[in-house]
């Protein structure tokens, strides 16, 4: 159990990073989880091809909220292409197929979600919202 609900993950849930509105965002998208009714909105500001700011709002379980919090840390300052690659690597991490070294250590707490297939959608929700933003 503690494999998933580590302190590192729960502290993101308790005090999420960059949980706020960005009024002048370059792009913003909302993802909903039809299983549980959770909703995460991700907003980004792109400047010179890089993510200058990224934040989220909405309500979610600990996994969705912590994942969103970690995402706003990890994607900040990345180029659009690198952030999309990171999103793909997070998906592959959950299915046990990530490229070693491709993801920053700050995302390590998400690995605990991998054995819980029923919760992959929770972890991915903010990342899919980010991807939608970056592709729009």
């Amino acid at each position: 159990m503690s494999a998933m609900y580590q302190d590192a993950l729960l502290s993101h849930y308790r005090a999420p990073h960059h949980r706020r509105e960005i009024v002048a965002s370059t792009a913003a998208t909302t993802r909903r989880n039809p299983v549980c009714g959770d909703e995460i909105r991700v907003m980004v500001v792109i400047a010179d091809g890089r993510i200058a700011d990224v934040a989220f709002t909405g309500r979610g379980c600990s996994i969705a909220t912590a994942s969103a919090s970690m995402m706003t840390d990890a994607a900040r300052g990345e180029t659009i292409a690198d952030a999309l690659l990171m999103t793909e690597q997070v998906e592959r991490m959950l299915t046990g197929d990530e490229t070693p070294g491709a993801l920053p250590d700050t995302l390590a707490p998400l690995r605990g979600v991998a054995p819980f297939a029923g919760r992959h959608g929770c972890a991915l929700m903010p990342w899919m919202a980010l991807r939608d933003c970056l592709r729009s």
Partner: protein, 408 residues
């Protein structure tokens, strides 16, 4: 005093083979007793042929088994005329059958359809879409502050333009029991609307008598009352069913097929196109006999005791919110939330303790919006549930609270 299960757990192979499992998701689907699994296997081993088709003894045996199953299940629901029980895949298909067949023949622009905020999507979306298709107006009865149906508002909403009133017998999300007699009285006094009742959560738990309810349609699902998945039914008044156009077309439902027109078979066949699900119907009849042997009054009494115990103990935990009216006005369901622990997290943590509960919107998003939550945790009980399940639930809830309290 220890509260034992009503039905012997030894009758349920899944529970026997996983003794440490605490299955508290019977409102989603029930576990199956051995007699139901035996009935299913026995049909395929001894009577398997296509009913209503072959002029040979085996096909006749299959036809008889299917016919007898219908009579048994009709009897269980207080239906004297068993040909007015149409087998469907379950409640969802039954509702779609009425919306598609009766709805398209009887509802037009300017008509009104009344549903309630308590409904499962299966008794909500078909009517919402029927209204959109036909230009009829959809009216939604809201909840009182006590989270029961607002009967005063129902009285106000039903009028001469109301064509159909659809209401659940028991809410799947919070377990509240609808005072159907009062609903019927209000609707009949103000309109000639037909009354459709979703019995998916009621038929497994309460003694149902279709004739006594005074309604027009009653839908149910077999898998929630110890039967197999994929079989359920729709009970309707004969005159209504006979006046309705067929729902699906194909084999068995026709009387005669001409090149450019066809005529329809009698009830129940008119609404059962294609090879029927005879094996599951036979197994469902075995489930019904099992429940009849337990006695539906005992089933209800057992659940009330469990629900009261569970509610008392869950409410004793800090930060608990319980949804719905008091246990005496509910059936089988304890819907709740814990402060600071999302229901989805709760379900995962409980699962690690061998406790299976449902977390989510319970296919009742309109209700969740009105409760002001995106999801709740739901523990639901049945004949095989006992005090050890309540103990395990409460122990796991405490563990979840401890886990989420350790950070900061």
């Amino acid at each position: 005093m220890t509260l034992y299960s009503l039905a012997p757990r030894a009758d349920f192979p899944l529970l026997t083979s996983q003794p440490s499992l605490h299955y508290l998701d019977s409102a989603a689907t029930s576990q199956k007793p051995q007699v139901v699994l035996d009935a299913l296997q026995s049909f395929y081993q001894t009577r398997n042929a296509n009913p209503h088709r072959g002029a040979y003894a085996l096909s006749a045996a299959a036809t008889d088994a299917y016919h007898d199953a219908r009579a048994t299940i009709a009897g269980f629901l207080g239906v004297a005329d068993s040909d007015t029980l149409i087998f469907t895949r379950g409640t969802t298909e039954a509702m779609n059958l009425i919306a598609s067949s009766w709805g398209s023949a009887n509802v037009t622009a300017g008509d009104e359809i009344v549903i309630t905020a308590l409904e499962h999507h299966a008794n909500f979306v078909p009517w919402q879409q029927l209204a959109r298709r036909t230009g009829a107006t959809l009216r939604i009865v809201e909840l009182t502050a006590l989270q029961t149906l607002d009967l005063d508002q129902l009285r106000d909403l039903v009028n001469g333009r109301t064509k159909l009133v659809a209401v659940t017998h028991v809410s799947n999300a919070v377990g509240s029991i609808t005072p159907l007699a009062e609903v019927v009285r209000l609707v009949r006094a103000r309109s000639s609307a037909i009354i459709v009742v979703d019995g998916a959560q009621a038929a497994p738990h309460l003694a149902v008598n279709f004739e006594a309810l005074g309604i027009d349609f009653y839908a149910f699902s077999g898998h929630k009352l110890l039967g197999p998945m994929g079989i359920g039914g729709l009970v309707g008044r004969r005159a209504l069913l006979e006046s309705m156009p067929p729902y699906h077309f194909g084999g068995d439902m026709i009387e005669w097929v001409h090149d450019f027109d066809s005529t329809w078979n009698v009830l129940p066949h008119k609404f059962e196109a294609g090879t029927p699900n005879a094996a599951d119907a036979v197994a469902l009849a075995a489930a019904v006999r099992y429940l009849q042997a337990l006695g539906m009054d005992h089933v209800r009494a057992h659940e009330v005791r469990l629900l009261e115990l569970a509610e008392l103990r869950v409410r004793a935990l800090p930060g608990v919110t319980v949804y719905g009216p008091s246990p005496a006005e509910r059936s089988g369901v304890l819907s709740f939330s814990l402060a600071d622990v999302h229901p989805h997290d709760l379900a995962t943590i409980l699962d690690q303790h061998g406790v299976c509960i449902r977390a989510g919107h319970h296919c009742a998003q309109p209700l969740m919006r009105r409760l002001g939550v995106s999801a709740t945790a739901r523990a639901s009980f049945y004949v095989y549930s006992d005090e050890s399940d309540v103990d395990a639930l409460c122990g796991a809830l405490e563990a979840a609270q401890t886990l989420f309290a350790t950070v900061d």
